[in-house]
C-alpha cells in the first residue's frame, strides 16, 4: 500500500502538501495540486484510516445502538441510517442493545474505542450506561426515545397524538369499553401512547381499562380468554405495539372472538401483512425510514459543525404518524389500496 511519502516523492512535493490536498485543509498551488492528484491516482493511494484516527481525528464511521435488527421497525430505521451515512462517506458500526447491562456497557466502551464520529442511539439503556455516552465528545442523536441526562438531539414520533387519534376513532364507532393492551410501560413511546389513550378516554368521560403488563402470547391468551367467558368485556382494543398486536390477533382467533364484530382492534405500528389479514388491520403507522433519515440528517449536521448543541440543549423533532384505516376498527374496507 502506497503512503503519503510515496505520493510526495512521485509528485515532487512534501508529505504535508499531500495531506493538505487529500484533506482539503488549506490552499495549495494549482500546479502542485494537479501533480499530487495525478500521483494519487497513479499509485492508487488511499489514506490509512488507522493513522488518521491515531492522530486524533474521528473515524469515518458512525455508531448505531439499536435494540433489535430482527424487528422490522428497527430494521427499516437501520437501513435508512446506513444508507444516509453511506451517502456521506461514512460506514455504520452497529451494536444491538437488547443485552445485559454489563455487556452493553462493554460495547459502548468498545465503540468509543473506535473513535466514531457520531452516535445514533435508541436509548434502552439503564442510566449508568447513559452517563458514559454523555461523556463522549461526539454528537449524539437519540431516536424513538429521548436520552435523559445527556446532551443530544432527538427525533421521536407523535406517540400521544397517534394514540388519541386511534382511540377517538374507536369511540366514534360507538365503543364505550376500550381496552389498552401492551407492556413496557416505562418506555417513553409506550408511556406516551398510554397517555394518549387515557386522555382520549377521559375526554369522552369513558373509564380507561389499561392492561399494561401483557407481554407474552400466553398472557395475551389468558386475558382474552377471560373476556370471552365473561359477558362483561371490552368491545374494542387499542394495542400498544407491534408485538402486542400480533399476540392479540393470535389470541382472538384462538378463543374465537371475531374482529371487528366481537372486538374491534387498532394497533400502534403497522405489520408487514396487515393489509392482507381478514379483516385488514387498522393501524397507526410510524414513518420508520423517515425516522432514520431525520436522525441521520441531524447527526451529520452536528458532525459538520463539529460541536455539541449550543446552550446545552438539543433539537427535538417530533414526526407525524399516519392513521391507516382498514377493516379491523369496524370500518368497511370499501376498496383496499396498496399497503
Amino acid at each position: 500500500m502506497p503512503t503519503v511519502a510515496d505520493v510526495a516523492r512521485l509528485a515532487g512535493v512534501g508529505a504535508i502538501t499531500v495531506s493538505r490536498v487529500v484533506n482539503n485543509t488549506s490552499y495549495v498551488s494549482a500546479d502542485k495540486q494537479k501533480r499530487i492528484r495525478e500521483a494519487i491516482r497513479k499509485l492508487g493511494y488511499r489514506p490509512n484510516q488507522a493513522a488518521r484516527v491515531l492522530k486524533g481525528n474521528r473515524a469515518k464511521m458512525i455508531g448505531l445502538i439499536i435494540p433489535d435488527l430482527a424487528d422490522l421497525f428497527f430494521g427499516k430505521c437501520a437501513a435508512a441510517i446506513e444508507e444516509y451515512a453511506s451517502s456521506q462517506g461514512y460506514m455504520t458500526l452497529i451494536v444491538s442493545s437488547n443485552r445485559s447491562e454489563e455487556l452493553q456497557k462493554n460495547e459502548i466502551v468498545m465503540m468509543m474505542g473506535q473513535n466514531v464520529a457520531g452516535l445514533i442511539v435508541v436509548p434502552s439503556l439503564p442510566s449508568e450506561s447513559l452517563r458514559q455516552l454523555s461523556e463522549m465528545e461526539v454528537p449524539i442523536v437519540a431516536f424513538d426515545r429521548p436520552l435523559e441526562g445527556a446532551i443530544a438531539d432527538e427525533v421521536v414520533v407523535e406517540n400521544l397524538g397517534g394514540a388519541q387519534t386511534a382511540v377517538k376513532h374507536l369511540i366514534e364507532h360507538g365503543h364505550k369499553r376500550i381496552a389498552c393492551v401492551g407492556y413496557d410501560k416505562t418506555t417513553y413511546a409506550i408511556g406516551h401512547r398510554i397517555l394518549g389513550y387515557t386522555d382520549a378516554m377521559r375526554a369522552s368521560r369513558l373509564k380507561p381499562e389499561i392492561y399494561d403488563e401483557v407481554e407474552t402470547l400466553e398472557d395475551t391468551v389468558k386475558l382474552v380468554r377471560r373476556w370471552k367467558k365473561s359477558q362483561d368485556r371490552p368491545t374494542a382494543i387499542f394495542s400498544l405495539n407491534n408485538v402486542s398486536t400480533r399476540h392479540l390477533l393470535w389470541a382472538l382467533r384462538e378463543v374465537d372472538l371475531a374482529i371487528p364484530q366481537d372486538v374491534a382492534l387498532i394497533g400502534f405500528d403497522d405489520l408487514e401483512l396487515g393489509a392482507l389479514l381478514s379483516p385488514p388491520l387498522t393501524v397507526i403507522r410510524q414513518p420508520a425510514a423517515n425516522l432514520g433519515v431525520q436522525a441521520s440528517k441531524l447527526l451529520f449536521e452536528r458532525i459538520a459543525a463539529a460541536k455539541r448543541p449550543e446552550g446545552g440543549f438539543g433539537i427535538k423533532l417530533v414526526l407525524p404518524v399516519e392513521f391507516v384505516i382498514r377493516g379491523s376498527c369496524g370500518c368497511h374496507a370499501i376498496k383496499q389500496g396498496k399497503s
Copy 2:
C-alpha cells in the same frame, strides 16, 4: 486516556511487558502480571485500537455486506451475526449492497481500509467487485449465495430440496398445472429453487410453467388477471420468494381467486404473519437466525486459525429448510400451532 507507558510506569515494568499481558502474547511472571493488571484497573486503561491497527493488527471488527436490512430475512440474519460477533468481542460494520456497482466498490474499499478481521457477505455483486474481495487477506464467508471466484467458506440453504418438497406436496394434492412465479432467476437461490421445481414436475411427468420475470405487484396482478379470465389456468402456485408471495396474495385477492379453492399456494420463505392469514400460508421456512450463526461460527474459526481455507477450497454448509404446512396448500389446518 492512559497509555501503555502510564501503566508500565505505575506497575514499574517496561511497556512491552504490559503489551504482553494485555495481548497474552507470552509468559510474564505472576508477580508482574498482577501488578500490571492492577495498574490497568486503577488507571482504567484501554488499548487504543487505532494504534494497534496501525501496527498491522486487524481491527476487532467484522464486516457484513448484505442486501437490505429492511428485509426481515436479512434483518434476522444480521441480528444473529451481530450477536455472535459481539460474543467474541467483535463489533460489526455493516454495508448495504443494494446500491449501484460504483458505490459498492467504493464501500468495499472503505471496509478494507478499516482493516476488518473478517467478512461475511451475501454476494449480490457483479464480478468486478468480487475480485477486490478475494484480494483481501482476511477470511470471507459467503452466505445465502456462493461467492464465485473467491476463496471463501459458504453457508446456504437447501433451496433445491426445499422447492422439490413444496412442489411434490402440491402434486400429491392432485394438481397437474402448477405455476412457478418469481423473478431474479440469475440469483443462486432462486435458480436452485427453479431447478427443484422443474425437477419435481418432470419426475411426475408434468409440464413446468415458469413465470420468472414477475417482479412488481403490477406484473403479478396482470398475470393473475389473465389466469382469472381464462378457463385454462394453473390450479396451484409455487412462489419463489417472500416478495412474490406477498404480491401473489394481493393479486389473488384483487382478482378474487380464492386460496386454496381456486389456486393453492406455497411460498419459499415465511412471512411474519403467514400463520394468521386466511387461510394460513404454507411455506418453506428458511432458518434465518441459524444461517447467521453458522456463518459467524465459520468466520470466527478462520479468524482464530488466522488463515484462509487450505488447498484453495472453503467449507460448504447447506442448512435444511423446514416445511410448514398450514392451509394455503389445500391441507386443512386442523390445529394451528404458534408460528
